[in-house]
């Protein structure tokens, strides 16, 4: 997806995102950028998906290729059974599916849930289960691009890793582009192919996390969180201790051991 001089509310965006990547967004108004990328509303300026320019005439076609999963979905009591939520989405969005029941079961299976969840009330689920279900619902339309608000919020380490493996599978096996927002710089650094840092409704930095986080001092001066494992290496290197940049504490530990006399 590419946006050139794209104006939306108070935003003016110039951004190019490659497909089939896992992209993380952090910073003020991160969820607003996600909303803009969802094309729910068309702003002014140029938006392209692939080589085609999006206009009010073809936008519906492209909206269908994007699934926008918000952190909080409030479901009224009469529409809180997961099967009903899924059926409603299929009807409302005119999703063409040969076998609806199979598609619903498959969507649940992809996220690691059994078909028995179809009969469950979404409001009774734990937060990690709800995250899986809302993703399963988002997969019904077979989107090319999946946007997920606060994708890792509230997850413990085990569930965070499971979620990452799921996103990587969606990317590698199903060729999806996954764009998430998060408050956690460790997640951006450890798992994302690309990251975007926002400040004052603008893209401050975009690129590969390992390159972006090398700019430790600049990031901290601008109140961006830097993973401690990166800060450690930066501070050590300032003292001429050649500790590499690592993503795992065991690796940095080995490196420290080598350099301590």
């Amino acid at each position: 997806m590419e946006m050139k001089n794209y104006q939306y509310d108070e935003w003016n965006l110039n951004i190019k995102l490659e497909e089939n990547k896992l992209i993380g967004i952090m910073g003020e108004d991160k969820n607003k950028l996600l909303e803009i990328l969802s094309l729910k509303k068309l702003g002014k300026g140029i938006v392209k998906v692939g080589t085609e320019k999006i206009t009010s005439e073809n936008i519906l076609k492209y909206r269908k290729k994007i699934s926008y999963i918000k952190e909080k979905n409030n479901y009224p009591y009469f529409l809180s059974i997961i099967e009903k939520i899924m059926q409603e989405k299929i009807e409302k969005e005119n999703i063409t599916i040969k076998n609806k029941e199979k598609k619903m079961r498959d969507s649940l299976r992809i996220v690691g849930l059994s078909p028995s969840y179809l009969k469950r009330d979404i409001n009774t689920l734990s937060s990690s289960e709800k995250k899986k279900v809302t993703l399963a619902i988002g997969l019904l339309s077979n989107p090319d691009i999946i946007l997920i608000e606060d994708a890792f919020e509230g997850l413990d380490k085990e569930n965070e890793k499971k979620r990452i493996r799921l996103f990587q599978r969606l990317k590698d096996q199903y060729q999806k582009t996954i764009i998430v927002t998060t408050n956690d710089s460790n997640i951006l650094y450890s798992y994302m192919d690309e990251m975007i840092l926002l400040k004052e409704k603008k893209i401050y930095l975009i690129g590969h996390p390992t390159e972006i986080y090398l700019k430790t001092e600049e990031l901290e001066a601008n109140n961006f969180e830097v993973p401690e494992i990166v800060k450690f290496s930066t501070i050590a290197r300032k003292k001429k201790i050649k500790i590499d940049y690592h993503k795992d504490v065991r690796d940095i530990m080995k490196d420290i051991y080598k350099h301590v006399s």
């Binding site: 909080k72 606060d150 919020e153 413990d156 569930n159 408050n183 494992i229 501070i235 201790i241 530990m253």
Partner: protein, 249 residues
């Protein structure tokens, strides 16, 4: 003088009778952590009920983010409603309002409907309201989850300031272990039992158990424990600059 204990015995989780007893020294900040679905929210609800029964004279305020609903259309109206029936004059209420929105960074949202706030600001406002009535016991369920690391530190420091000033008891659940360092006691739960308990730093040094429980150890504690295992460090160090100085004097 030993602190009086707030002892809660025979916690009942979803009709499964548990053996453990959980207790909190009064006038302290206790954290309860554990992986997803270990029952943190349920425990907060049970605690609220039990404390109300066993200590009826104590004022309790509970903040559970999923249950936050505001009655009024602006922060000012919400605060006025909260202060209704208190001894504060109108002038004093105005001052309380100004101080509250400044303290909890809600100034830009003065004219907005609190029910339309994002999660972070709903939590900020609910915390502000909870503390207004100076409760003796404050029960907080995973209130730090949507915040960045820097924001969590600010929020927790405000809560700690309140707890020390008013000598109240705070019990907070969180899955973010780093949050527990602000408190004086930590419980880690898993599979409906207490896996670990004690002074936060000492509990967090049991890295093997915590890793197996599926929790994220704060980086500096994780690294400190490993360095100590190799005799490269004597004590856990939380400050990166200091640790680098200690390792390479």
């Amino acid at each position: 003088m030993e602190k009086e204990m707030l002892e809660i015995k025979n916690i009942n989780f979803s009709n499964v009778w548990l053996d453990f007893e959980i207790s909190f020294p009064q006038n302290t900040f206790t954290t309860i952590s554990g992986p997803n679905n270990c029952g943190k929210t349920t425990l907060i609800r049970i605690l609220e009920e039990k404390i109300k029964k066993e200590f009826p004279t104590f004022t309790i305020k509970t903040v559970i983010p999923e249950e936050i609903v505001f009655t009024m259309n602006t922060i000012k109206e919400e605060i006025e409603l909260y202060l209704e029936g208190t001894e504060f004059s109108l002038e004093e209420q105005k001052t309380i309002y100004k101080n509250t929105i400044k303290q909890w960074k809600l100034t830009k949202l003065e004219k907005e409907d609190p029910n339309q706030f994002d999660r972070k600001n709903k939590i900020r406002l609910q915390l502000a309201l909870a503390i207004l009535k100076k409760p003796k016991i404050l029960l907080l369920d995973c209130i730090t989850t949507p915040f960045s690391r820097a924001e969590r530190k600010e929020i927790l420091e405000e809560i700690q300031k309140y707890q020390i000033q008013e000598k109240s008891t705070v019990v907070m659940t969180t899955h973010i272990l780093e949050d527990s360092l602000i408190g004086e006691y930590l419980y880690i739960l898993k599979n409906n039992e207490i896996l670990l308990q004690g002074v936060p730093l000492e509990v967090l040094e049991k890295d093997n158990i915590i890793n197996k429980a599926g929790l994220n150890l704060p980086f500096m504690i994780d690294l400190s424990v490993k360095l100590k295992d190799y005799n490269l460090l004597k004590e856990t160090e939380l400050n990166i600059n200091k640790m680098v100085e200690l390792l390479w004097k």
